[in-house]
Amino acid sequence: MKVSVISPEALLFEGEATSVVAPAFDGEVGILAGHAPMLTMLGAGMLRVGDGGPAFTVKGGFLQVVDDTVRVVTEQATKA
């Protein structure tokens, strides 16, 4: 599935990945290919893309899954 990580200042990551683990507002969520359309708010914590892929510390924003495309849109993100 396609994954992109977007902060106000830049597109931090865009590419294929098998999984995404994100800090939702009420605990971690894991997304795999074929996930149902979803929109969830994010809290603060670590965002991990794929196995051994890039990781970011994020705070606030949302995660959207539509048509096997994951968009993580966060107000604050730094590469970990």
Binding site: P8, E9, A36, L39, T40, M41, G60, R71
Partner: protein, 287 residues
């Protein structure tokens, strides 16, 4: 050859000026490229945010969000004017100030009480000069504005708008369409005008709920509008400076040509005169 020495001095000083303006042109060019990259890099976020708000928004919700509140009558408004800290950018700041004055005049004609927030020394200097009180002035925003700068600029205003002590917020900035087109623009960022509604995907799982997500994203949308205005203004400033400095460099070059021509003519005339004197003197001795 007194005139020649004077011309030589002017040639030298014009050369120095041209050296400076050419350097500034190159500096502005490279800064503009970086600023332009930031404008482009900010687009995916704005698009993503706009898409999601559009898919969640429906007019029934408008009542419940303070940021979507549409006051029946505008009584107080805040105008955030973005200008640059430095000059030598042609008419860049003058154009922004003109746009701001037009907006102020039209708001005040409608009986709206306007509070001014000004970013950048040039704008602050102007309003000090005309003797208008500013509610807030900032000169600490650099060539590389951050999302935090934007938040600092509008968070207080959003609070006041939500509380009802403010009925509208405008931003006056330079829109960066391209390096050659950077029109000064006045934009209303509050109340939020939600982007045209897109259809929400079916069976969308929303956590915690559409309302709560929106109440989180609307402020982010406003902050993003401010951030975009900041980065576009920086890019526009650098492109205005580049154009101004390019013109200055070209003009200095032209002036140098004229000065050099005059100098050479004076030198030639001087030599010719000296020869004429020697020939005249020799002829007088022989006579």
């Amino acid at each position: 050859m007194a005139k020649g020495r004077e011309l030589k001095g002017r040639i030298k000083s014009t050369e120095n000026t041209r050296k400076i303006t050419r350097t500034m042109e190159m500096v502005a060019t490279s800064k503009m490229k970086r600023a332009q990259d930031r404008v482009v890099a900010a687009r995916p976020y704005a698009r993503a945010l706009g898409d999601v708000i559009a898919s969640l928004y429906n007019p029934d919700l408008a009542e419940s969000f303070p940021l979507l509140r549409r006051p029946a009558q505008e009584r107080t408004a805040a105008v955030v004017l973005l200008t640059s800290n430095r000059g030598l950018a042609g008419a860049f700041n003058a154009n922004l100030l003109k746009e701001a004055r037009t907006l102020l005049a039209s708001l005040e004609a409608q009986g709206v009480q306007v509070r001014l927030h000004v970013v950048g020394r040039k704008g602050i200097g102007y309003f000090k000069y005309v003797g208008r009180a500013l509610e807030k002035e900032r000169t600490d925003i650099t060539d590389r504005p951050t999302a935090a700068d934007a938040a600092g600029l509008v968070d207080g205003l959003m609070g006041e708008f939500a509380a009802g002590s403010l009925d509208a917020v405008y931003v006056v900035y330079a829109k960066f369409n391209s390096a050659l087109s950077t029109p000064p623009t006045a934009e209303r960022i509050l109340p939020v005008a939600p982007p045209a509604s897109g259809a929400a995907p079916k069976d969308y799982l929303l956590y915690p709920s559409a309302g709560e997500i929106l109440s989180d994203l609307l402020p982010a949308y406003v902050r993003n509008a401010a951030y975009r205005a900041l980065v576009e203004t920086v890019a526009a400033e650098q492109s205005a400076r580049r154009t101004a400095m390019k013109n200055a460099t070209d003009n200095a070059g032209e002036m140098l040509n004229t000065l050099r021509r005059t100098y050479n003519r004076a030198r030639q005339a001087h030599i010719t005169q000296e020869i004429a004197e020697i020939v005249g003197g020799a002829a007088a001795l022989q006579g």
